[in-house]
């Protein structure tokens, strides 16, 4: 799913520019901080992203995939309890 090289597609490339939103910058910086603190390295980030169900992966935005990876990896490490983030969000 994540390994896109050479995958046949005629989909157009959308070249419109996108300035990163605050939450995207925040997500990026949280990942960087977790990395410097030894809690999640770039390979773990990628493994987390690549563990997304294919349909979710295709429809998620870039930083939505990062959020999914943070939750997955920190869940595995016991930093986040199952469902903890959903409960915080009142879900």
């Amino acid at each position: 799913m994540h390994d896109r090289g050479g995958r046949p597609t005629d989909a157009p490339i959308d070249r419109s520019e996108h300035e990163l939103a605050d939450w995207e910058l925040l997500t990026d910086a949280v990942v960087g901080t977790l990395g410097r603190n030894g809690l999640m390295n770039v390979d773990e980030l990628r493994r987390g992203i690549e563990s997304m169900p294919p349909d979710e992966y295709e429809h998620a935005s870039y930083y939505e995939r990062w959020l999914y990876a943070i939750e997955t990896i920190l869940g595995e490490k016991g930093v986040l309890a199952p469902g903890e983030l959903d409960r915080r969000l009142g879900k």
Partner: protein, 206 residues
């Protein structure tokens, strides 16, 4: 499989919009702060670093390489050291490799697996670089993609597609445009676009 129906750009995420992901990101930061696994000042410093990165740094490297063949040789041999030589931040550990476009060889860069990119020297990658169609088609049809981006190459020019990894990121030194003779380094740098350093655009002098 027909991917076409699935490869929309991400309509949910637009400037000024507040997607559910934004609330999720903030709640996640809050939880991690409370748990003491991250500190707010470190996150803020990370955001400050990210927004301070721009293609202007990469453009300075290219302009110096155009103006000074000995510097270009050093840049091609060790891009990290060359960046430090100009007082630029080459970023944390991953190796940056510079490659040179010539009359005979054209390099373009992709990350088929995700989005690896020399962020310290070029800023965050553009959305299209991270998009599924670019990641597929840069490999399956590089000349078609180059045409779409406005780069026309003769059949005698070899196209090399470089696939980035978490450990190696590429910076393209584009061809110096005709008509740029006698320009100052600052003028040269102003010709160097972000996309030309990804290898999907060619600098123009006028």
């Amino acid at each position: 499989m027909n991917d076409h129906d699935h490869e929309h750009p991400h309509a949910a995420i637009t400037n000024g919009d507040e997607p559910a992901a934004a609330a999720r990101a903030r709640a996640l930061e809050e939880l991690l702060l409370e748990k003491g696994v991250i500190r707010r000042e470190d996150v803020r410093a990370g955001i400050d670093w990210l927004v301070s990165r721009s293609p202007a740094d990469g453009a300075r490297l290219v302009a110096r390489a155009w103006a000074d063949p000995e510097f270009k040789a050093r840049l091609l041999a060790d891009a990290r050291a060359a960046a430090l030589e100009l007082g630029l931040d080459p970023g944390p550990s991953p190796v940056v490799v510079a490659v040179e476009n010539t009359d005979a060889v054209h390099h373009m860069v992709v990350c088929t697996l995700c989005s690896c990119y020399p962020r310290a020297l070029l800023g965050p990658p553009p959305n299209w670089y991270k998009s599924l169609p670019y990641r597929s088609r840069a490999v399956s049809d590089p000349r078609g993609v180059l045409t779409e981006f406005g780069v026309e190459l003769g059949d005698d020019v070899e196209v090399r597609v470089l696939d980035s990894t978490a450990d190696i990121r590429y910076l393209v030194i584009p061809r110096r445009p005709a008509g740029s003779e006698g320009m100052s380094e600052a003028e040269l740098a102003s010709l160097v676009t972000r996309d030309s350093m990804i290898g999907v655009s060619a600098p123009q002098s006028a």
